[in-house]
């Protein structure tokens, strides 16, 4: 095995392990949400009970997860049509982030149309979305891991965690430990998540990734097919 190949494999394994931990935490969060949400009679303030769990996740995943929560499907709650119960770490404090859920507003944060909400709702499975600019939400470029919250085999909400690009890049660069050959971490659509070269900007589509042989998938236990892989980009 060549030197870059072994560095790529160990980088992929490290990324996979961190993502596994995020999805394991999301499973716990989703289970807690299942325990709170009833088929009827659930109000939005009941979701505030999830805060200690989100606090634990943000602490355990320090640097990687800075925002997490649960968003319900429209019509589930008694006192709100939609509700986005998320907390973010702001200046070291975990705070509830009010989103504008008024469809008439120009700042309307329509989470029901966002990929991290739609995809697991449609697939019934955990998903890894991004990188994308979360405009009106985190207001920065992020990756979101999300999964369904299920009650009696019906998806009633989506539990999610926002991952910082910064930390993903740190895991990537630390494990790779080299800049001699351009290597990129890309998504299934060819978007660059991180790279050790200025030539490949995160968030940019990598042209013709299939032409770059020797790609190393990032193994994520909970995901059916690995959406991320490392390629030699030179």
């Amino acid at each position: 095995m060549s030197a870059p190949e072994s560095a790529m494999k160990s980088t992929a394994a490290s990324l996979g392990q961190r993502l596994d931990r995020v999805f394991a935490d999301l499973t716990v969060l989703a289970e807690k949400a299942t325990g709170i949400i009833a088929p009827s009679g659930t109000s939005r303030n009941m979701l505030e009970a999830l805060k200690p769990e989100v606090a634990r996740i943000v602490e355990d995943q320090a640097g990687l997860v800075e925002s997490a929560g649960v968003s319900v499907i429209p019509g589930l709650l008694d006192d709100a049509d939609t509700w986005h119960q998320w907390w973010s770490l702001i200046d070291g404090q975990l705070v509830f982030v009010p989103h504008n859920l008024n469809p008439a507003s120009v700042n309307y944060y329509d989470y029901t149309e966002m990929t991290w909400f739609e995809r697991p709702l449609a697939s019934g499975r955990p998903e890894l979305i991004g990188p994308y600019l979360d405009f009106g939400g985190a207001n920065t470029k992020i990756v979101t891991a999300s999964r369904p919250v299920v009650i009696e085999s019906r998806t009633v909400a989506i539990a999610g965690a926002d991952l910082t690009m910064d930390f993903i890049e740190r895991i990537f660069l630390r494990n790779l430990g080299r800049r001699d050959e351009p290597i990129a971490l890309i998504t299934e659509t060819g978007k660059v998540v991180a790279s050790n070269s200025a030539r490949f900007a995160p968030g940019t589509r990598f042209e013709r990734p299939e032409e770059h042989p020797g790609s190393v998938p990032v193994p994520v236990t909970e995901l059916a097919a690995s959406p991320w892989r490392l390629i030699v980009a030179g």
Partner: protein, 260 residues
């Protein structure tokens, strides 16, 4: 030193006020104004030998109290960037230049998240491209001559702090040639942020490339070739942006390998 530079114009001061410090935690208004004036000196909006306007006028222009302004001026004096002269023709004069120091560049770069750095460079390329496009349609012979003389000042510079200053001035000058007040103001902000990251060790082979990049852009502007002007400006900033990002990646990679 004689008063050859004259008095800093209110326009230059307004430009300094547009400089917005980013990527750093500011403790207060005084620190912010210090940073604004320091950056304005670095960009050559304020130049050695020039006299600053009276403190009350400056404070008003920069939107701070006279007391706050005096605090900032004291800091700049202690850094050797200003000096105060008494008597006739007295007042605060710009005396110093900001030297390019490798440790400052590294510190600035470490303050950036990769995605914010990339965003800054994207904005630099986009604004430069738009300014060059407009300039190609709007510049007359005099405008082009002015840009050429700015490019010449850059080409004949060799000291890093002069390269930094003349480089930023040329690119801000393209906004002026584009006759867009808003674009020029945006260019000042972009270069105020970008300039402290430029012309360090990693740029030692860049001078000839930059001279050529400027020449390509100016030729397109002169020919009235809008698409060519835009493309060459963007290519120029993508090239220099890569120098900055690669240096940032070098720092990150070595910092991570060597935990303190």
């Amino acid at each position: 030193m004689t008063d050859m530079g004259g008095t800093v114009s209110l326009r230059a001061l307004d430009m300094a006020a547009q400089v917005r410090a980013q990527g750093q935690v500011m403790s207060g208004r005084a620190e912010q104004v210090t940073q604004q004036l320091e950056t304005a000196i670095g960009l050559g909006l304020l130049n050695p030998g020039e006299r600053l306007p009276p403190e009350l006028v400056m404070a008003d222009r920069l939107g701070v109290s006279p007391l706050t302004l005096r605090q900032s001026l004291a800091v700049l004096r202690s850094k050797g960037l200003l000096e105060t002269r008494r008597g006739r023709g007295g007042g605060s004069y710009v005396t110093g230049m900001l030297a390019v120091r490798e440790t400052d560049i590294a510190r600035e770069l470490r303050n950036y998240k990769s995605s914010d750095l990339r965003d800054l460079i994207d904005l630099a390329a986009s604004t430069a491209g738009s300014a060059a496009r407009l300039a190609s349609r709007r510049s007359d012979e005099l405008d082009v001559r002015r840009l050429r003389s700015l490019a010449q000042r850059f080409a004949s510079s060799s000291e890093p702090h002069m390269l930094r200053q003349t480089d930023a001035r040329l690119h801000i000058g393209v906004g002026v040639a584009a006759q867009s007040r808003r674009l020029t103001s945006l260019l000042i902000q972009v270069h105020a942020e970008l300039s402290p990251l430029t012309w360090g060790e990693a740029w030692r082979l860049e001078h000839a490339n930059a001279v050529q990049g400027h020449e390509d852009m100016l030729a397109m502007i002169e020919q009235g070739n809008a698409a060519g002007a835009e493309d060459s400006a963007i290519a120029h900033f993508e090239r220099e942006g890569a120098l900055i990002i690669d240096q940032h990646l070098d720092l990150l990679t070595s910092d991570l390998a060597d935990p303190q």
